[in-house]
């Protein structure tokens, strides 16, 4: 659709659009920006092409022949310019004389217009006077003038005046039309600016409302900030107080810990003292008991004391020997000396004490184990205070048995075999 209007625009750009097409185009351009742009660009393009054509700057002889007289052109232009107020009468009339001026150059100056009109009026009067007389004469005798014959004698000056008046009327009409269009354009501009002002006012009102809202929000936020600051100060004071209390408590704790440590040390010292005292008391008790045992042993009426030796096949005495303190029906204390300790320590053996009756050599009763009594003396000891068991035996001997052996009879070789019968050493 725009194609058709563009074609009209192109034709209108060189003044060759049909009138109907011009009407249609004008109505279309009221609301079509694209075609308005096309029209503008076509017109600019055509005018550029014309202006850049060298022929446009030349006046051909054909045109030269039809151009009006230059003086007439100037006169009419200046007159019209005076009406518009562009020139003053003085400006149009005065020009300094130049050395080469002659009658004809002066005649052509606008300042001679009054002279020219005066001469024209005089010529007109000379020509019309006889005609006017004739007209008056004929009117007096009732004959109307022949307009056709007289009109042929109308001077050219009258034609020029009427033509000038026609030009002026046309020019005035055109000027009025131009001013009316200017007024319309200004009205359109006024409407546009009024609309813009209205929009700006609305924007300003909304901005003011937004500003008030922001100011109100700002006040609320300031108040909240103040409250928050107060709370913060209160919390800072409480924190300082807490810290002070914590410090005091820490100081007290440190003191308590120091006191605790001191007490602990004192308690440990006292505990050690108590332990040593207790140990001493136990030793004393032990010693006391041993004293008692020794006293009981030494003063027992039916005490038997034996030294027991082993001899080899050649009758030589072996190193190990034993000493038995037997109180009949009461206790048996068997000390052994220089027992061979190598095998028991490395092979997992131990010295066991057996009891038996001489009459029943195949039977034996395990009485217990030897324990190291004094390593420096290489002394071993066994004690039995079971009167019942002692009543069943009349001899004792030692064997080397494996650890954890539950055998009811001895398996190892007899050592330090001793008969408990006989007469007591201390009756």
């Amino acid at each position: 659709m725009h194609e058709a209007y563009e074609e009209i625009c192109a034709a209108a750009a060189i003044g060759e659009a049909d009138p109907q097409d011009l009407i249609t185009l004008h109505e279309h351009l009221q609301h079509c920006i694209r075609c308005r742009q096309s029209y503008s660009e076509f017109t600019n393009l055509v005018s550029y092409s014309y202006v850049e054509n060298p022929r446009a700057h030349l006046i051909s002889p054909e045109h030269e022949a039809v151009l009006p007289n230059t003086d007439g052109l100037q006169d009419r232009f200046l007159r019209r310019a005076m009406e518009k107020g562009i020139f003053s009468e003085k400006l149009t009339r005065t020009r300094p004389l130049r050395s080469h001026d002659n009658v004809w150059s002066l005649w052509r100056q606008p300042s001679f217009n009054a002279v020219k009109f005066g001469c024209a009026a005089a010529v007109l009067a000379l020509i019309l006077l006889p005609s006017a007389y004739e007209i008056g004469r004929r009117a007096a005798i009732g004959h109307a003038p022949a307009t056709g014959a007289y009109s042929a004698h109308l001077p050219r000056a009258a034609d020029n005046s009427s033509q000038n008046s026609r030009h002026q009327n046309v020019a005035l009409q055109i000027r009025i039309a131009s001013l009316e269009d200017e007024i319309k354009a200004k009205d359109r501009e006024l409407k546009t600016q009024t609309q813009r002002l209205k929009v700006s006012s609305e924007n300003a009102a909304s901005l003011l409302a937004a500003r008030e809202l922001l100011e109100s929000s700002q006040k609320d936020l300031k108040r909240q900030l103040q409250e928050a600051d107060q709370i913060s100060e209160q919390q800072a004071r409480e924190k300082a107080q807490y810290l002070q209390e914590v410090g005091e408590l820490q100081t007290a704790l440190n003191a308590a810990q120091a006191s605790y440590v001191a007490d602990e040390i004192k308690i440990r010292d006292l505990t050690e003292e108590v332990s040593s005292t207790h140990a001493a008391a136990e030793r004393n008790a032990e010693l006391l008991k041993r004293d008692r045992d020794i006293r009981d042993l030494m003063t027992a009426r039916n005490l038997h004391i034996f030294d027991v030796f082993d001899t080899d096949a050649k009758g030589k005495t072996k190193p190990a020997f034993g000493r038995i303190f037997y109180t009949e029906g009461k206790s048996l204390i068997f000390y052994a000396y220089d027992l061979n300790e190598a095998k028991p320590a490395s092979a997992g053996y131990q010295y066991r004490v057996w009891g038996s009756r001489e009459a029943e050599k195949n039977k034996a009763t395990s009485l217990g184990l030897f324990y190291s009594d004094d390593k420096a003396q290489r002394r071993w000891v066994f004690k039995c205070n079971d009167a019942k068991i002692l009543a069943q035996i009349d001899s004792v001997f030692v064997t080397l048995e494996p650890n954890r052996s539950d055998s009811p009879l001895p398996k190892g070789q007899k050592l330090l075999d001793a008969y408990l019968g006989g007469t007591a050493n201390h009756p």
């Binding site: 563009e6 074609e7 192109a10 034709a11 209108a12 750009a13 060189i14 003044g15 060759e16 659009a17 009138p19 109907q20 011009l22 009407i23 004008h26 351009l29 920006i33 308005r36 742009q37 029209y39 503008s40 660009e41 076509f42 017109t43 600019n44 393009l45 055509v46 005018s47 550029y48 092409s49 014309y50 202006v51 850049e52 054509n53 022929r55 446009a56 700057h57 006046i59 045109h63 039809v66 151009l67 009006p68 230059t70 052109l73 100037q74 009419r76 232009f77 200046l78 019209r80 310019a81 562009i86 020139f87 400006l91 033509q163 030009h167 020019a171 055109i174 039309a177 131009s178 269009d181």
Partner: protein, 191 residues
Amino acid sequence: MRALQAGNGEALKVIFDRYHRLVLVTALRILRDVGEAEDLMQSVFFEIFQKAEQFDPSKGTLTKWILQYAYHRSINRKNYLSLRKFYDRVDLFDVHGEETWITKVSLPHQEAVRLVDEALATLSCEQRAVLELVFFKDMTLKEIAEQTQQDFRNLRHHYYRGLKKLRSLLSKNARGGDGLALEEQIARANA
């Protein structure tokens, strides 16, 4: 021109003396009537006096500036007279003041000459022939149709196609006075 831009009427007289015949011939070429051409000539100089401050010597000579005004106003007057013959409405095209739909775009004339020459070379034979006769021989489309014995509508179509191609090339390359492309400047002015 500076004196004229200052409102000196004497300067207008000097410019009128120098250019009135050129303006008159331009109007005569288009309007084909001496009376109309003289009236238009006067209007052109009065308008030049009112808008003298718009002349920018960096964008072209005074001669070309005046001739552009003369050509624009002549085309306007021709369209106006065409309408007046057939309708009572004569207010469609402003015959004296600014043309409603034309946006003044300054195009350096050397640039315009180069671009127009380049664009003409790209046209078809028929299109180039019509445009050259219109632009350089002052012939109307009807006169060209009669002389070349071609159908007027076909001829007008060739003219339109050729002009459209020229316009397309110039639109891509032209820059307004403020550095905008031709299309952008026109769009802004019409916004």
